[in-house]
């Protein structure tokens, strides 16, 4: 086919019109939302055993407080983009892989027990905070340990690479306490280490310690002690600087907080039995920090 000049001109005009129309419509999509619209798929991160935030339950189904939040985000995205169908892909991540996978855009959204902090904000963005924790100590009731300073010269286990490890090392370095820090590779090994007596205490985010106690063979033997040295905020991770997508995720979380759905979801996972190891109840009422968060949502690290 040969094109004559008037034809080319009218084609160009048509293309120009199409461009104008696109610009005049809703703001052009970019980042995650554009990718979701173009491919018709969204990839959501899962965790194997971050109980009760994101885990596989006894029925081999993905569940968890943060997992359900991510499911609501998926629904909202589907509605906002007016997609007839949206394929949801899941990808299991670990604490080591989650940041690279969000940064290199393999994963679109990661909601589990991920602390929002300044270093991580170099690589990813965080949604509105959905949980506030503080690192504390898990000890046997007869251990005689009540405070952080009781740890001098003792073996203490902490999960490698976590913000709790960073805190424990800072504390140890600053006070010259000579704590022997044992590193565990995940939440379960962390508890195994203190259960088998290799360490006298385990340091982790308080909520995870309570979930460990709930799943222990004899929950009555254990207690959580030590005043948290600092508070931390869990948020959903998404790619850095993607304001449009962040707005959707933030909107879902603050909307849930306003509607009371957030508190209902909290009750479901933290106060009622969950399908793990038969059935366990974590029994962790909303802290004052959490109540404050629901009243005044924020997306800042603490």
């Amino acid at each position: 086919m040969t094109l004559n000049q008037p034809m080319i001109r009218s084609l160009l005009a048509a293309a120009g019109l199409a461009l104008c129309a696109a610009a005049a419509g809703a703001q052009p999509l970019d980042g995650t939302l554009k990718k979701i619209k173009d491919t018709g798929t969204i990839t959501v991160a899962t965790r194997g055993a971050s109980i009760p935030f994101n885990y596989l339950d006894d029925n081999n189904k993905q569940a968890g407080f943060a997992w359900e939040i991510s499911q609501r985000v998926v629904e909202q995205v589907k509605k906002d983009l007016k997609l007839a169908r949206l394929e949801v892909r899941t990808l299991e991540v670990t604490p080591q892989t989650r940041i690279p996978l969000v940064a290199n855009q393999t994963v679109d959204l990661e909601c589990s027990s991920t602390t929002n902090n300044a270093e991580r904000q170099n690589q990813v963005s965080f949604s509105t905070t959905f949980f506030v924790v503080g690192a504390r100590l898990l000890v046997r009731k007869n251990s005689g340990i009540k405070h952080w300073s009781d740890l001098v010269g003792k073996n203490v286990v902490v999960s490698a690479g976590t913000t709790a490890e960073r805190m424990l090392r800072q504390l140890n370095e600053k006070n010259k306490w000579g704590i022997n820090i044992i590193l565990a590779k995940d939440i379960n090994e962390n508890f195994l280490t203190v259960e088998t007596g290799r360490a006298v205490a385990a340091t982790q985010d308080d909520i995870i310690l309570y979930s460990n106690i709930a799943r222990a063979r004899k929950p009555a033997d254990w207690e959580v002690v030590g005043v948290p040295q600092q508070k931390e905020a869990y948020g959903c991770m998404l790619r850095k600087g993607d304001t449009a997508f962040k707005k959707v995720v933030d909107g879902v979380i603050t909307g849930m907080m306003r509607s009371g759905e957030f508190s209902a979801l909290y009750e479901k996972y933290f106060l009622k039995p969950i399908a793990v190891k038969g059935s366990v109840t974590i029994g962790f009422p909303m802290s004052s920090d959490m109540q404050e968060l629901v009243r005044h949502p924020s997306d800042q690290p603490l």
Partner: protein, 245 residues
């Protein structure tokens, strides 16, 4: 990709207050080198003994070494390490188990990995040694016997000097594997090179720089091993043997 690169991260102080990030990697490197060299030296000795035992005429020695090699060569190193670290102390008498668990954690982790890595590597090396011995023509042994040498003397003066030269190249790859396998130490909390790399990537939120740096360090180590083994191979070479001119 939305990734902010920062290659100067290694010169920044760690958030844990324990020195520079680069020093974390260096500490990890020291553990890796110490662990691997020790495990390799011990494994060479055990592997040589077990490999020779597999070819001896005596039944008991042959049987024992066969069982050892099969158990340790045919199960994953990670499984073995977990057994040594978590299960063995529970099987020992309670006092011994507790003594093990209460010792300095780093020493405990180091010794556990050392045992696991040594026995695993030795089982592999033993198979190489056996193959080397079996590749020496049978007539050599018969000739040695005919000269009046006993089994020990035949191995010492005739068979092993040839067999060990033959197995230098395959042993080189076992030597390389020790360094790579030593990374399993991080699963029980000994922060060798890979472990420290993970720590660095978590604390600094610069995972790509950390792992790229570790890749180059491992490559440098293995290259060093290859050069060393080439030298040994060259110096041990006997003209006429193995087609070496």
């Amino acid at each position: 990709m939305h990734y902010s690169w920062d290659w100067l991260i290694f010169l920044e102080p760690s958030v844990t207050g324990e020195g520079l990030y680069g020093l974390m990697l260096l500490r990890g490197l020291l553990w890796t080198v110490l662990l691997s060299l020790l495990a390799w030296s011990l494994a060479l000795g055990i592997g040589l003994a077990a490999g020779v035992a597999r070819t001896l005429p005596g039944r008991t020695a042959r049987y024992l070494s066969t069982v050892y090699i099969h158990c340790f060569r045919n199960t994953p190193l990670l499984v073995q390490l977990f057994l040594w670290y978590f299960v063995v102390p529970e099987l020992l008498p309670v006092d011994w188990g507790n003594a093990l668990k209460q010792m300095n954690p780093t020493a405990n982790q180091f010794l556990t990995v050392l045992v696991a890595l040594t026995l695993y590597t030795a089982a592999k090396a033993a198979e190489q040694v056996r193959a080397g011995i079996e590749s020496v023509p049978r007539s050599q042994k018969q000739a040695a016997m005919a000269l009046g040498l006993g089994t020990a003397a035949a191995y010492r003066h005739v068979i092993l000097p040839q067999a060990l030269r033959i197995v230098i190249p395959p042993l080189t790859s076992d030597f390389l594997n020790v360094f790579k396998n030593s990374a399993v130490a991080l699963t029980i909390g000994l922060m060798e090179l890979t472990g420290q790399t993970r720590q660095l990537s978590e604390f600094s939120a610069h995972p790509f720089e950390a792992f790229i740096a570790a890749t180059f360090v491992y490559m440098a180590i293995t290259y060093g091993v290859i050069v060393l083994m080439r030298r040994i191979e060259h110096r041990a070479r006997v003209p006429g043997l193995l087609g070496a001119a």
